[in-house]
């Protein structure tokens, strides 16, 4: 039997033992092993062997002999210094190219970083909430005759019922939207975002109470908490030093409430925006109308135990609503807190507050990457195009013994150097452009220079970008065969196909961006100029606050007499994004065709003031007794409502309906008009005529060019009715436009980025054109000598590039059509994609590139052939 010492031990020895000692030591060990096998047996000997091997693990045996000859190392400081020197010389020698490369890359990086900051900011929403990961909002998916609707509000009694039934829930809080007027002594404030909240609200979301007792605040029905901003308006800038707690504030001029706390202004990165908080208790006690299972009025938030199984919990929750409210099949859904900011797309405006939109975040990310990619392609193109100039260097290095790996490292290092320069310039630019970018995006951001995470990210980007830019050039340049390049044989065409592909890709991306931008602006124009079904010009609204709302009619009479004002109508809302919806009963209604209808209360001058037209029937009239009756309602429907009820406008006339518990008849049908943004279809609408109920607004139609006078008149007259409160008004068309802020922002951002994209792409083209012109300088000289005209040569040089741009057009059109179409699906009312958008984008891309290329081409064509041909 052949006995072997343990192989693993031998391997270990071989690994650590210095090579010049190995033979001797290993031999001795083996000899000893053979001896021990005879003496002790195999097993013992093997143990012995292991111990012996380990015994040799000493510095004495590990230390290697010093090398006799110095090793040539590609990474020793001298070589690195040489690489660096060559890189810098190359940069300086080809100033144009270096400039193009660095500028392009820097601009690309700026775009990418700016967008990165934006996206990062979007994802930071609500992160400050304690136990952020365990917070959910309950939503419902309601089934109605016209489809499924997601709504973000749930019934008031739901939160305590769930808390009672599910041990998984640790905490709940409810938030409801409210409005009204607050008055403290002589100052009145109309809060922008009044919220009705549970006592747990502040601790649930981690909002800090600046004054007041966080344990007891909002637990009694007559309390109120205001934000810093509101406190400043009530008590002046020095509210912190005053004792303001316990002061009485009047809500809607009737209900006195105690100020028990001042809360910090709601953080910018929170989906909850509020400035006044009222206790839920009060509404629970007094507002039976909305506090029941049939009415969805509140956001319900839950905190779930960290160890709970969320999937199982949401399963249980889905059918829970029918246990509390018989016959209610609507499923309850959980929306994680981290989704609320970006993924909230709810119907009927049930989600208040401003939100981001994941779709636009995605568009921005794509645009940022496109711009960066275009810049990267420039870099790759220019460094491979100029490969001839580096070929000799590669040849020499290889012949004196450089390995391919060290050449790859060298070229990669060069791209690292370039990228670092570009990143440096980019960060500087970013810092300078930040105010501009903030204006575009509507955010308040700064480059987080002091955060270590930022620098780590920058380092990562630096490595990634230089890896990508250097990848192809490094392998391409290091692949040259020294024999042929040193002889001067060099295939000038090599890599040209790759370069062309990159140029085409660049232009495809730029053209897609241009088309996207033009399309977006078209849609925006369309939305802002579409005939809404009423005349939004010279139309302004005046809010009626407090007492004035009771004297609306008197004020209206006075205003109508002014020569600057054409007509006035008292209403309950302002025609902009109306949300007040309810169910309606009519003869022939079945549970299947039930729908929600949006309502507003107006007076007889409403149609005249807004310029709406009747499709059938008549307008309201104060002269007809039944119109103003207390016991009987008179209604106008819009065409959509009539259609949903199964009637043509003519058929609808005289039909009986019951709305808000009041029987009534339809006297007319108004033509459809837009009362919500263009993303949604026109929904059913009902116009009520209840002159004895409260109105909250006056819609005022001014005479042309009399707006200033009209405003002065209104201000003067308004003061007669209400001394203490400021007169607040707005223009309907401005408010309508504000609905499309996010589209406008996106449009502006997209416009800036597509301009940059095409600019960078052209920069690359310019570089390539310069390079070709340089390369073909002799050919051009000869052609000129032979009689070629300047036009000949210009077209010769431009032709190739323009061909590429044409190909890019061909690829870009279908892509852009697809993308634009996809985006337009978001809007119920949208433009058709017209051919001229493509024509504009294509022609402008060709035009710009022609301009870029021909500049170089003409320069080359004008060159004196004597100069280019005299030396060889």
């Amino acid at each position: 039997m052949k006995t072997q010492p343990p192989i693993l031990a031998d391997k270990l020895l071989k690994w650590f033992c210095a090579p010049h000692l190995l033979e001797d030591i290993q031999g001795d060990l083996h000899e000893e092993f053979a001896f021990q096998v005879k003496r002790l047996g195999l097993r013992e000997a093997q143990w012995f062997y292991w111990r012996k091997v380990l015994g040799f693990m000493k510095m004495r045996y590990i230390k290697r002999l010093p090398q006799k000859y110095p090793k040539t190392n590609s990474y020793n400081p001298d070589m690195l210094q040489n690489y660096f020197k060559i890189a810098v010389r190359n940069l300086l020698k080809n100033r144009t190219f270096s400039l193009i490369n660095i500028t392009g890359l820097a601009v690309g990086l700026v775009c990418c970083l700016a967008i990165g900051l934006y996206v990062w900011d979007e994802y930071q929403y609500d992160r400050a909430v304690p136990q952020f990961e365990q917070v959910y909002r309950l939503t419902e998916r309601q089934k109605q005759a016209t489809g499924l609707y997601d709504i973000a509000v749930t019934p008031g009694p739901l939160a305590p019922a769930l808390k009672n039934d599910f041990p998984e829930i640790t905490e709940t809080t409810r938030v409801g939207a409210w409005s009204g007027l607050l008055q403290y002594q002589q100052t009145a404030v109309e809060p922008e975002a009044m919220r009705v909240v549970d006592a747990s609200f502040l601790s649930f979301f981690g909002f800090k109470l600046l004054k007041g007792n966080p344990q007891t605040v909002l637990s009694a029905p007559d309390e109120i908490v205001i934000s810093e901003a509101v406190a400043e308006r009530f008590f002046g800038k020095d509210w912190r030093t005053q004792s303001v707690l316990g002061k009485t504030i009047h809500y809607n001029q009737e209900l006195p409430v105690r100020l028990t706390g001042i809360v910090e202004n709601s953080p910018a990165r929170s989906h909850l925006q509020f400035d006044v908080l009222l206790p839920f208790k009060y509404f629970e006690l007094n507002d039976k109308w909305s506090y029941n299972w049939g009415s969805n009025n509140y956001h319900t938030y839950l905190k779930i135990r960290p160890d709970a199984n969320v999937a199982a919990f949401s399963q249980k929750l889905a059918g829970q609503l029918k246990k509390y409210d018989k016959g209610n099949e609507t499923p309850l859904l959980l929306q994680p807190l981290h989704d609320i900011h970006l993924y909230s797309d709810f119907d009927f405006g049930t989600d208040w507050g401003n939100h981001g939109n994941i779709r636009y975040v995605r568009i921005f990310v794509i645009v940022g990457l496109i711009v960066l990619l275009i810049a990267l392609f420039n870099f790759i193109n220019l460094s491979t195009a100029r490969a001839t100039q580096r070929a000799r260097e590669v040849g020499v290095r290889k012949s004196v013994g450089a390995l391919r790996s060290s050449l790859i490292a060298q070229f990669w290092g060069e791209s690292l150097l370039m990228t670092s320069l570009a990143l440096g310039v980019g960060l500087l630019l970013l810092n300078l452009l930040m105010p501009f970018f903030n204006e575009l995006s509507g955010k308040v951001m700064a480059v987080p220079f002091q955060q270590p995470v930022f620098w780590i990210a920058m380092f990562g980007i630096l490595l990634l970008v230089s890896f990508l830019t250097g990848l192809y050039p490094a392998f391409y340049l290091s692949s040259f065969r020294p024999v042929s390049v040193l002889k001067g044989i060099f295939d000038k065409k090599s890599g040209a196909g790759f370069r062309k592909t990159l140029v085409v890709t660049q232009f495809v991306m730029s053209i897609v961006l241009i088309i996207g931008t033009v399309g977006l602006y078209q849609q925006l124009q369309f939305m802002q100029n579409k005939n809404l079904g009423f005349d939004k010009e010279q139309l302004l609204y005046v809010r009626l606050k407090g007492d004035v709302s009771q004297k609306a009619m008197t004020l209206k009479e006075l205003l109508t007499k002014r020569s600057s004002i054409a007509s006035v109508s008292a209403t309950t809302s302002t025609l902009v994004n109306m949300q007040n919806t309810s169910y309606i009963e009519w003869t022939g209604k079945t549970p299947k065709n039930e729908f929600l209808i949006t309502q507003m209360n107006v007076d007889a001058d409403f149609l005249k003031t807004t310029g709406m037209t009747l499709a059938a029937g008549r307008n309201f009239s104060t002269a007809i007794a039944s119109d103003t009756s207390n016991k009987y309602g008179t209604y106008l429907l819009n065409e959509t409502a009539a259609r949903r009820m199964g009637w043509t406008p003519q058929q609808a006339l005289g039909k009986k309906v019951n709305f808000w518990g009041l029987d009534g008849a339809i006297v007319g049908v108004v033509s459809d008009f837009h009362f919500r943004p263009m993303n949604v279809k026109i929904e059913p609408f009902i116009v009520r005529f209840r002159p004895k109920e409260r109105y909250f607004n006056l819609l005022v139609k001014t005479r042309p060019d009399q707006t200033q006078r009209a405003l002065a008149d209104i201000a003067r007259l308004y003061k007669k009715f209400e001394r203490n409160q400021p007169f607040s008004y707005g223009f309907v068309n401005q408010d309508l436009e504000r609905q499309y802020t996010i589209e406008q922002r996106t449009g502006q951002l997209l416009l800036s980025f597509s301009i940059l994209a095409i600019l960078i792409a052209c920069l690359g083209l310019f570089g390539l054109a310069t390079f070709t012109a340089e390369q073909r300088i002799k050919e051009i000289g000869i052609r000129k000598v032979m009689g070629a005209s300047i036009a000949n040569i210009t077209s010769l040089l431009s032709k190739d590039f323009i061909k590429l741009v044409l190909i890019a057009n061909g690829i870009a059109f279908p892509l852009a059509h697809y993308g634009l179409n996809h985006w337009l699906q978001d809007f119920e009312y949208r433009i058709g994609i017209e051919w001229w958008i493509f024509a504009v984008a294509g022609i402008s891309a060709i035009g710009i590139s022609l301009l870029t290329v021909s500049f170089q081409a003409i320069k080359a064509a004008l060159m004196n052939p004597v100069k280019s041909l005299k030396s060889e």
Binding site: E23, D24, I25, Q26, G27, D28, L29, H30, E31, E32, A34, F35, K52, G55, F56, K58, R60, Y61
Partner: protein
């Protein structure tokens, strides 16, 4: 006295090398020492002693013949240099002179 210091174990190794007269290498040396002195000696100790002795110039080494037991690896054969001989001699002389000066020669304890 100007003399390289020699440790007790090194001295024994050096002596053994001298005794084995040109046939000394790691394992044999170890076995010889174990036999003669009865103490347990590990191979790595022998090797490090040999290395130190070689650094001090008291032994020299050359590669010998490969054998089967060694898996075809060669031995490193050690022999004592002139300097090594002299050192051994000196040590011996110093000891002898001390022994001779003993007034009451030591008796072996019974």
């Amino acid at each position: 006295m100007k003399r390289t210091y020699l440790g007790e174990f090194e001295e024994i190794v050096l002596l053994t090398v001298a005794v084995l007269d040109g046939q000394a290498y790691g394992v044999v040396l170890m076995h010889e020492i174990v036999e003669q002195t009865g103490r347990s000696v590990r191979l790595n100790q022998v090797h490090s002693a040999l290395q130190r002795l070689e650094e001090k110039g008291m032994v020299r080494s050359e590669m010998g013949e490969p054998t089967n037991e060694r898996g075809g690896r060669r031995k490193r054969l050690f022999s004592v240099t002139a300097y090594g001989h002299r050192t051994l001699q000196e040590i011996q002389e110093v000891r002898v002179s001390f022994w001779s000066r003993l007034t009451h020669p030591l008796k072996l304890s019974v």
